[in-house]
Symmetry: C2
Subunit: 735 residues, 2 copies
């Protein structure tokens, strides 16, 4: 199938590569407007406190200060995402160290920062709780009005429960039953671009230049919170420096910027510092996962019972679920996950939100069970891989088996695997694997395409391109669907005034949702082109095709006409448009992955070096091999960081985060990460655009467990709590 494509499937450099590498790309932080003010946010030093008074008089006297807003003079709801209780841009009481207390707009950044120090806030401290299980105790300080079990609104229920089959029967059928607990920590998304927002009012119309993963969703949220019609809010994001899930929707800083701009009558830019960025937004929810697993002697799973808590921090924004069991065929299953509020930094979406921490727990435990049963982990994973969604619904396509086979072959599993801990010497070598993936779904997308009289084309889509290369993907899909060379396609993105609705780049949905609409818009264009060209080619419109900018008769391709010639006759532009919203019926979609790592563990220093990494992925047809490979590499790197080094540390007595910055959070650098060998298995998925599924989120899902399992294979020590830092390895080595 892939061979039939003209544009799809190649290694295509990003269409905006030139602008990006030459520094011409205008990110939100580069926006400078005449008469613009600069804003900064004052954050709570207390984990839980009532604000009694805010005295802004000294701050307002500082020359250059134009406005100070805070919870006692400004009550603007911030409803983005879900919520357990109504959240405002400034809340009272404050519920974690870092909760926003006030924002200042001034004529320059330094005055704004100085002014923060002049805002006098009187707090009345309230007892606080940091630990999720502690927070569930009856006498724990109450953070949310309804209690600390985060009973969400909208899609976010609590506890999150899921059940199928007959758990009791499953455990009865088991030869052995294992129970254990795995713990993951809060890690920050740590994307390169700090949050920044620029807002400007023109009459009743608000424009926000946001650093957002989705301009349409950001617009919807801002319009809702500020009570504006959609047409009066414009959200623009042309380039952005990643978000990994924590730049979805509109955030409090977007709203603060808009409110300050309205208050001052001047454009306002609010930039987060890196510390703001680590504590003012959110990271991945930590978890404590207790598993009870029944297996046959050969490792075949008969039942899984998962009971877990996830720490959502002070406010609920997203699900708090754990979904790492999804890649396995489990006949009898029960899951209870309790998202819990604590007086800590908020936890919400970070690339494959419910997966890597959960895959870490479950795949580590399966690896451990394999060890206990004397089964090769390869067989354990192969045997239990998912064939049906939730043991019931067929997948639209599924090449997990090939991923396992080809990945194992590439890394040389058979030659390299040894019994755990059998490696000798101070530097111990080991190999590990795990399975992952991510749901693939169809949904709402929109696109318009304009074909110029010279046969070149303009594609308008709402994508923001958070780093995934989404712009290029959309242009590739358009080129393929139109039959016009890629270099003849101009793409405009990320501007709600001019680009159609886009779901936003979360949930790896963009290629599927918007890509499908691009194909439909191209069809709309092609139909019109064929109507124009038919008389010129003395054929019926339905007999025509268009490839490489030539319109031709399908049955006789020598009967052809350059597109520019076909259109020059009418001298006009052809406009195509589509809003598409396909659904699945009796099928489920998923991308699959099997990852393999080799590690060298230095038992003298505790340092883990990943010497080789193979990532085999089934994402259906790969639309752009270059950006898809980059996605896999990036996901693996983040998984490695989560496995080995990253954790937001909180000083327990004060509840103050002590490492909210790149260096201290120990986000991996080029020095710490290996080359990632990427293998794509490409079943043509009938539901995806040109057979493609999802690429963005799958790569991070198995990476943490893969590294952990390789460390186990090297050392014979099972680490059940992340991150697997040198001190933990040294302690284990001493046992």
């Amino acid at each position: 199938m892939a061979n039939e494509f003209s544009v799809v499937g190649k290694k295509t450099p990003r269409i905006d590569a030139f602008e990006r590498v030459t520094g011409q790309a205008q990110y939100t932080g580069d926006i400078e407007l005449p008469n613009m003010l600069y804003a900064r946010v004052l954050r709570s030093p207390h984990p839980h406190a009532k604000i009694v008074s805010v005295d802004t008089s000294k701050a307002e006297k500082l020359p250059g200060v134009k406005a100070v807003i805070h919870c006692l003079n400004t009550q603007v709801p911030w409803t983005s995402g879900g919520a357990t209780h109504r959240r405002y841009i400034f809340n009272n009481p404050v519920r974690y160290v870092g909760d926003a207390v006030a924002a200042v707009a001034a004529t320059d950044r330094y005055i704004a920062e100085d002014a923060l120090g002049l805002v006098e806030v009187k707090y009345e401290k309230i007892p606080h709780v940091l630990d999720a299980k502690e927070a569930l105790k009856p006498d724990a300080p109450k953070i949310a009005p309804n209690g600390n079990l985060s009973v969400g609104t909208g899609n976010f229920s609590a506890p999150i429960t899921e059940e199928w089959g007959d758990l009791e029967k499953g455990f009865k059928e088991a030869d052995r039953i294992f129970e254990d607990t795995y713990i993951s920590k809060h890690v920050n998304n740590a994307q390169m671009e700090r949050r920044v927002s620029v807002a400007k009012w023109e009459g009743g119309k608000l424009t926000v230049w946001a650093s957002t993963q989705g301009v349409s969703n950001a617009r919807t949220d801002i319009a809702k919170d500020l009570e504006l019609p959609l047409s009066k809010v414009r959200v623009v994001c042309k380039y952005m420096g990643a978000g990994f899930g924590n730049k979805n929707q509109a955030q409090d800083y977007d709203l603060m910027t808009a409110v300050l701009a309205r208050a001052t009558g001047q454009p306002v830019k609010l930039e987060f510092t890196r510390e703001d960025d680590f504590i003012g937004m959110h990271g991945r929810w930590s978890s404590e996962q207790h598993y009870k697993i029944g297996v046959k002697k050969d490792g075949t799973i008969t039942a899984v019972d998962l009971d877990a808590v996830t720490n959502m921090g002070a406010y609920r924004k997203q699900s708090g679920n754990l979904s790492g069991t999804d890649f396995y065929d489990i006949p009898n299953f029960k899951k209870v996950v309790k998202p819990v509020h604590t007086n800590t930094v908020v936890a919400a979406n970070y690339r494959a939100p419910a997966y890597p921490q959960s895959v870490f727990g479950f795949a580590s435990f399966l690896d451990q069970i394999a060890y206990e049963l004397g089964v090769n982990p390869y067989d354990m994973f192969m045997r239990n891989r998912a064939r049906l969604y939730h043991h019931k619904i067929p997948f639209t396509s599924n090449a997990m088996e090939e991923c396992i086979v080809e990945g194992a072959k590439r890394i040389g599993w058979n030659e390299k695997w040894h019994k755990a801990g059998a490696s000798s010497g101070a530097k111990k070598h080991g190999i590990g694997m795990a399975l992952g993936g991510y749901p693939f779904r169809p949904g709402l997308g929109a696109a318009t395409i304009r074909v110029n009289p010279d046969g070149t084309a303009h594609v308008l889509v709402g994508v923001t391109d958070i780093g995934t290369g989404a712009k290029s993907t959309m242009a590739i899909i358009a080129a393929e669907a139109l039959g016009i060379p890629l270099n003849q396609i101009q793409l405009t993105n990320g501007d709600t005034d001019v680009t159609p609705f886009c779901i936003g780049e979360s949930g790896s949905r963009n290629t599927s949702f918007t890509g499908t609409a691009v194909i439909a818009a191209a069809e709309d264009v092609r139909k019109q082109i064929f109507n124009v060209a038919a008389p010129q080619l003395k054929a019926k419109a339905e007999e025509l095709d268009l490839k490489e900018a030539n319109v031709f008769v399908k049955s006789d391709p020598s009967q052809k006409l350059p597109l520019s010639k076909a259109l020059s006759r009418i001298g006009s532009e052809i406009i195509g448009r589509a809003t598409t919203n396909p659904t699945f019926k009796d099928v489920e979609g998923k991308s699959f992955a099997a990852h393999f790592a080799e590690v060298e563990v230095d038992t003298w220093t505790g340092y883990v070096k990943i010497t080789r990494y193979v990532a085999a992925h089934d994402s259906g047809t790969i639309l752009n091999r270059l950006t898809a490979e980059s996605q896999v590499m990036g996901g693996v790197v983040q998984g490695i960081g989560m496995a080995l080094t990253e954790e937001l540390l909180i000083d327990r007595p004060t509840a103050i985060p002590i490492n909210p910055n790149y260096r201290d959070a120990k986000v991996p650098t080029h020095l710490e990460v290996p080359e990632v060998e990427v293998i794509f298995i490409e079943p043509y998925d009938p539901y995806g655009p040109f057979g493609g599924k999802v690429v963005g989120e799958p790569p991070i899902t198995p990476a943490v467990a893969t590294v952990a399992n390789a460390i186990f294979n090297a050392t014979g020590k099972r680490f059940k709590e992340l991150p697997i830092t040198p001190d933990k390895i040294l302690r284990a080595a001493q046992v």
Copy 2:
């Protein structure tokens, strides 16, 4: 008919009024880009000279100078509009004082200006000619390769000839035959915003922020001259400060800016000084019109023979035609107009290019003939008004008669008209009238409309809104056609990357061409909305209507659904699109006007005061009464300037223009112009959007003649050469 409209026909403030009056509107001159250079143009001091050498070494040594381009190192064609001979951005020989010789880009404006003085050009002078009739003599200096009769390419033939009926027969049928010559002068468009262009290259893609009347045409021209595909050229113009016909297409300064930006690798801004603006672009072609007119005793025209020359200056860009006879029913007609090259500033389009100078000549002469015949001018004009186009083809609508009747009634013609010169005293009072109008045509337009889930809408159109209020007109048309209130409509304009093709605001075509497409795009949206709403209203889609953001059953309007509710069910955006290109068959279109002025002529000072002015217009349905009235007022003001004060004066020995600036060109100010009383007669034209025809150009067409005829009525002196300055009046008064 007009009563049925919800939005159309009211006095609607401009949708961008807030941005304009608060200074937030970003005109091209306001564009500032990082690392931007500033450019200036060196112009020829000679009317005709060969450039032998250009030494840029001193200029290039000036710190801050980044590039110097000129005719000997840069040969880029400038083919915009028509041409008699290939024109470049720098030409050799130079052909008029002001012809561009070189352009400099430097780090600031002052360095660029200083550098101009350091460019050393060696000229070899060539004999020159300034007068059009002189230029046609065999021994005149040859300006164009094919001779000085400007034999145009494309639509521009030379001489321009038109003929119908039987001229000889017509003159035979005449009771009397009159012959005379009328002369008009070169006047500058004198729009407020000077020309400015900003260009930036990103990789192979060029963006030009232009001050243009048409972004699509500008893009087409730039792409052609720089040999780029259309998708690689983006032209943006969000706000512009008028052009009146001399900012059509792409101009040499746009190309110079693009070339300098490419040469330097930096963005470049080129701003014209006011002097550049007066001599570097173009004004209205001057003319010498010789008429022979046959009439019956009662004034009925039997034949018109017009033999004229128009002075096009050094290069041909537009037609050079004279069309003022179009508003009359002439059974036998012949016209020969010879556009001629001279070594003067270029003449091309200025609001109703072929009309006001020509109406001045013809309507002055008709007024004179009426006087000679003893016929009241009212009867003369009424009797000879056009009933058929070129005495043959019916008009789509024609309310010229009502314009004459209602205008005359308003000004009190019957009471005020007296025999010419019968006014006594030093301050003489008089009244005059003339007929005008402008062609109305259908043609190529495009639009897209997106309706948000909350029922608000985005309209995308390519209009630049040169001051006419075109953005507002398009939004009004969209609101009316959609059935959505105007304040729920957001409009994006003037950006070839995102807005559909637009003919550009020339020829008063925009309301008709683009407006028709907006209606069609709205229909496309409505169809989709009705499909979505039909099941909710338990009706068929074709039974539904949409007004005031409510979808309802036509036969039972109580069965209704708010649009936002209808769409919220599907949660998606509806996109409509249209490219329309209607044509006339066996009809011609025209807007009509009859103007009336009262003047007071001070025969001691020569000063003419216009004491009252009534302008009666048939432009079909008026879509926005506020902007339409402004259009009429503006056109009248320009006509008054042309009648009384304006003329680009050229020093004959040196050929240097001596008054190329606002003050010396004597463009009217508020002190010189009267209130203009505007009357709209509104036949519903079946071919126009909501019955509308054209408004932009008609108002200037009769204004010059109206003032001239009023002066004749006051003084009894016929002025046959424009402008009718105090010195001419004083000289005539002494006779």
